[in-house]
Symmetry: D2
Subunit: 336 residues, 4 copies
């Protein structure tokens, strides 16, 4: 890291700071600039906070990325996730679709059949639902998991569903093919550690206000426990924009893919919150290199018990996938 | 709620929407405007999402606040929290101070004595630490809780400490006087439910990108389980500003106090991330009506194992409290 | 608009507010809800601020969009802008490319030839440069405009260039084919009025923190003066994200196109600030329905006197356009 | 500045970059780290963008603040602005109050008398109004300036009023004592240059999404032209928060005062947009060291032709000033 001394720092202050850097086990390299002195601390980034707190120091500039296992420098070849017919990464674009919540056996099996017909390679559906209000529908819980299994039986589609608390990891792992960590739990470190212990893929959603570094460090929590099957999911961030539910910053897709070997999927349903914007954002995601899509589709969107305004019909879904398939084909990748 | 029909909606569309509103158990009241027709749906806000998803509907405007127990309409008189010498609310400003992390017995007892001397009425200190990186110091865990108890023994100060996962609620409740829910866990609903079951005060930090409504609904999760001792804590939000660690939006203090009976405290340490800005923000918080402060103070700030750059010394703390006491006195409130 | 009365408003307060609405020339329609009384004020949205300021009123909810001429309700068919070979809108995707700044005759003519060869249908280049620092290069001014004309002579490409102040509108109009209003000037109302008086197309960039409504109202300033050739340009917004220079919220493209007949182009160079992200964001923009692209291309990007890190080479530009052409073809639109 | 080479940069790449740095007239100092090589470029920050664009370079970290004249390093003693009875800076807190817009002679003289009685030391009032919509009231223009002069005659209060375009600078300077640059014009560089040529104080409002560095660089445009009487005004920023009109980040007050000698005032009216929050935010501003306040006060707030919901009455203003005076007194500063 680079330690920038305050304007007017005396030789004594500089020497004291350099000594502290050496005590931390790093090599201190003093550079006298025209207006400022900086000290390069060679080794790693330990002691960063302590040095930043020294009164003689103006700022400390880190040089190294703090994530290791997630980094493309560590593993240059892309990670490919495969579960049944779902393939995510390596030029294959996975399509995860289904209702926001599991509501009944008829609904989820109907949804599964229709999204499969429309081009999905996996089924999504919430059994445990994180809801802003304690008074809103919280999901069918374990019964929902059972219905998801039934839908898998009926269609062969692998199941992606959310786990909200460490205590449920074992239960959800029994039923699900891919465990989802929601945006509000991206920094629920006990939950990240718990899914790091299992050996099924984890779809990790970006937090509403998470930086790229925080997002990759959240993945690192899972990877560090030995679970290397992590799928990153861009689902939109919170900004001053209110015309859409969130702001979907698609440049994060190519940005992440330059830095990590992990696959990156996009959730245009939460990313926009508006049904009519889902298809264009699916197309844009495929065009900029996303490894997958996760989309809210309900047999009867208006009757959806949650997220109704961002849910699309099976017909709209099929049309969007047809368009995405053409774009993928034009770019030499494969949808589904 | 108010249902705004799309431009050019036909009489049939309007009648169909009105029928749907009546089916939901609400009374539909059609108002023909000059350019738009709107339907007032009288009763409560059920079916909001479904109606918003109708293709004939442009938007649905909610009228009622979705939180009930937290609302000042439900309980006009302010809630006062009292634990030992800590009083928060009703004109008394609680002062919670101490190190970011518990590091050793000497450190925490030394810190407790010094913050007490400087004017603190409670001790803060992290035993379980949520850290962005899996490679950072994660706290002393249960041993940290024991040392906090020892510091309480030594000084009489009640202890405020964070709980990160439902599984630890029982353990932390055994040692702590006030349980803190961190900003990253503000929407960890299983954790909110778990602390809703205990009968000790909970200090709930605002999420980094939480709206006021989401913040009050998070409190509602705790209140709804029967724990009525909730303290709201403004700790700064994430915005485009990078000169400070977060942006501290103090207008939330009077805004919240107009809407809820719960007390509101401010965390200027995380809210700014810069030690030299902590004292001015303490003064500003007291001036705009905060019911308390929570401040990171370490016997030797540079040696702090976490958050070093935002931690102040016991001397700086005592000076800041002297200034706050003068302001509180001028305004007819009481610090400490 | 809908006027929501405060909780507990008395009959007298309600009648007084209703009378004020009638005095404003609107029709007041009182609706007694279960928990709140609301008054529908029928007519237009006049008096909104005054009513919101009444102490008996909780909030005022507007129903109508405040822009008129820009609205798709006013003019359902899309506006198509055509200048020489540049066509923007109606299924044709215009490609505006060139250096950030005009630097010399050789540079701008070389750039024009190369972007034309790569697929551009217009040349961009700044003669007047808005720069954050007074010490940075401010552009070649009128000499730059002359060189742009020379480049048009040499290649036939129409010229898009920025005007920064009302005083220069006449001058820039003499040389340019399309006048650009920069993001920092989106609410420079005297400048908007001045370009509203001319009869050449105006490319209006979205402000860094402008809402969709503010963006369309800025366009309305120009339209209202009689200049109907307005091109909207999404160029990224300021959010908490710092890994890219700005956040490029592509959902604004389909969102705007649902609401306005004006064409929408995307600037992926400023929108990301990183050269390697420009091509993926071009592809995404075409995929989600953008009517055009505006891209920074320099014969020797590293030597660019401004915006070097987001500028791409003519070779990278040509490759990106090849990809975009395939996507446009797949979607039934036409690039260039 | 510090040039960070890409991971795996070869000796040849490093030498090539170092040569380029020397060609720019800087001294290159190569530091071989454990995982990365960095090059310290000693001298100033020229060529920053070019170096950042080199393909062998990962990033360039600037070391020096880009503003010079505004910096406290250049002029350690605080700048004090004095016009008639208005004193801003050096322990004196100026109080600028008045209506959003000048509406009539009676209104502005009445307002001036009442704010003076309540403690104001200057009168604010808009003659030229920047309005989001072309259909909103745009101000009384020159007639408004004449009425402001009349109010100064009647009360002795100096006048603060906005100038929106370079063409009006001469006119507004004739009538006003302090010229205000609005938030939307903070980066209207031609306007900044124009007010840099006059010799009256300029109150520069922070842009809605301006960083501290951009804010100080905007001031630098004015200072660089020779006008050293610049007052910085924090008026709130645009964030995801919608419960207030803007987010008022008061930590910017002490942050700016550490870095610049220019005085800093706060606008709690625009900063919150809600009348009931103005008084608490005035108190907080004084408590954290603001050098002044600028507040919207109208003889009859509900009748205000603009910004009605954030305007307070003369009585509320007088009460707020009484509270602020007590706080200032407690802190050893002086209000008014």
């Amino acid at each position: 890291m680079i330690v920038v001394m305050k304007h007017g720092a005396t030789e004594e202050m500089i020497q004291r700071t350099a000594r502290r850097i050496e005590e931390l086990g790093l090599k201190a390299h003093i550079i006298q600039g025209t207006e400022r002195t900086v000290i390069a601390a060679i080794g790693d980034e330990r002691g960063k906070e302590e040095l930043a707190a020294c009164e003689d120091v103006e700022q400390v500039l880190p040089i190294l990325a703090p994530y290791k296992i997630a980094s493309r420098e560590t593993k240059p070849e892309p990670t490919v996730i495969q579960v049944r017919e779902l393939v995510i990464g390596g030029g294959r674009i996975g399509v995860i679709a289904g209702p926001c919540s599991v509501e009944s056996e008829t609904q989820i099996i109907d949804a599964a059949r229709k999204v499969k017909a429309g081009g999905a390679t996996a089924l999504r559906g919430g059994a445990f639902k994180p809801r802003t209000s304690p008074y809103a529908f919280q999901g069918m819980q374990e019964e929902g998991l059972r219905l998801l299994s039934a839908a898998r039986e009926a269609t062969g589609l692998p199941v992606v569903t959310e786990v909200m608390t460490p205590h449920h990891v074992e239960l959800v792992t029994r039923y699900a093919d891919v465990l989802q960590i929601g945006a509000r739990n991206m920094q629920n470190y006990h939950l990240l550690a718990a899914v790091g212990e299992i050996r099924k893929p984890v779809l990790l959603k970006r937090g509403l206000s998470a930086t790229m570094e925080e997002f990759l460090l959240a993945a690192e929590y899972i990877l560090d426990r030995g679970n290397h099957q992590v799928i990153l999911c861009e689902r939109g961030i919170r900004t001053f924009e209110t015309h859409t539910r969130f702001t979907l910053p698609l440049a994060s897709v190519p940005y992440l893919k330059e830095r990590t070997h992990l696959p990156v999927v996009v959730d245009p349903s939460h990313g926009t919150g508006i049904a009519s914007l889902v298809a264009p954002m699916c197309a844009a995601s495929v065009a900029c290199g996303a490894d997958g899509l996760i989309i809210e589709v309900h047999p009867d969107p208006k009757k959806s018990m949650s997220d109704a305004s961002q849910t699309i019909s099976p017909e709209a879904f099929a049309a969007a996938m047809t368009q995405c398939r053409l774009i993928a084909h034009a770019l030499g990748t494969q949808l589904g």
